[in-house]
Amino acid sequence: MPDDRDVSNVRVQTLERIAAHGQVWSQLASKYGVGNPVPPWKSSLDAMCDALDREGITLPLLIRRHDEDRLSDQVYKAVPFPESQLLALAHSLIARNVIDEAALADRMELVRPRLESR
């Protein structure tokens, strides 16, 4: 069972690069004239959180939420919600050695071409 240690001092460069790129939904929605207040991946993110809460051991709800509070305030302060929620979840899982940062970066390299294929 993970403890409630502060993971905001763990640097995750893959996530820092995403945060710095700044492709946030509020700006994209405005740019493309879309009225949906949240990005299309938000319900999937919420479902991930629910599924982790149900599993209850890898990243218990309170630890997940405390991490999110700290990370949103200290590491991803410039990133709006819900992008900050997603970054915080990924950061927690990496900092707590559940997901490997390199594996995540590699998987992102595989996912993007899939989404861009026509």
Binding site: D6, H21, S44, A47, I99, R107, V111, L115, E116
Partner: protein
């Protein structure tokens, strides 16, 4: 009249076809969400089937059931009595089963629910000081501001001041009671029915019962059918006082 966001595509015959605006960019966040989910499934943290069912659950959530409950309670004294005494049973009457909100259970929502009835001298407001516990089966997902340490910490200390920041100014003679939610206890505010709505139908009444009214940061008002914009204030050192 066309909305300013409406778009039109030119067809081969020179005519035009309406097209819905869409974001034509793959974002890093979209890619990250998929990559993280795939790795979590491969690690066995949850299954793809569990994730799919939770996604379906999340996508059908919203504040409409809560609004129906409040409107029905205003119109039907027996139902109001039931809502106050056994809110879970009252929810079943409006089609929400808290014991099986997804059809396969959500531990974070399996809980007791209490309906908090306002009176002319007592106003309720809900918060979750620990994280963001919220009556999702009947109110949907919590708004961003409800999740912030700023709201959570300050509402229990200075409720009158925080309510005023939401534009809700209550007279001094009205007591404010803040109820702190947790993983086992969720709350819903049953506000006073506004004057002048006595002969309204349940549907008309439900339209003015906004999410914010059921959290307790707003009062129902004829003509107001949506939540106001809320500024999100950053907190100073939010994680230090748990």
């Amino acid at each position: 009249m066309a909305d300013e966001n409406d778009r039109f595509e030119t067809l081969p015959d020179g005519g035009q076809q309406h097209s819905t605006p869409m974001v034509d960019e793959i974002t890093d966040f979209e890619v990250l969400e998929i990559a993280l989910r795939e790795l979590a499934i491969e690690k066995g943290l949850f299954t793809a089937e569990e994730h799919r069912r939770y996604t379906e659950f999340v996508e059908q959530l919203g504040p409409a059931p809560g609004a129906r409950l409040v409107a029905k309670a205003w119109r039907d004294p027996d139902f109001k009595q039931l809502a106050r005494q056994d809110a879970i049973a009252a929810c079943r009457e409006i089609g929400v089963d808290w014991l099986q909100p997804t059809g396969f259970g959500t531990p974070s929502d399996f809980t007791s629910l209490q309906v908090l009835e306002d009176t002319p001298t007592l106003h309720h407001v809900i918060v979750c000081t620990l994280c963001s516990c919220y009556p999702r089966p009947i109110l949907g997902n919590s708004p961003e501001w409800y999740r912030t340490p700023n709201y959570r910490r300050r509402m229990v200390r200075w409720p009158r001041q925080v309510l005023a920041e939401f534009g809700l100014y209550l007279p001094e003679e009205v007591e404010i009671r803040v109820e702190d939610s947790n993983s086992k206890h969720r709350f819903l505010v049953l506000p006073l029915q506004p004057p002048g709505t006595e002969d309204w139908t349940e549907q008309q009444l439900a339209e003015i019962v906004t999410r914010d009214c059921m959290i307790g940061v707003a009062l129902p008002k004829p003509g107001v059918t949506s939540n106001g914009d809320r500024p999100v204030h950053p907190a100073i050192h939010p994680a230090e006082n748990y």
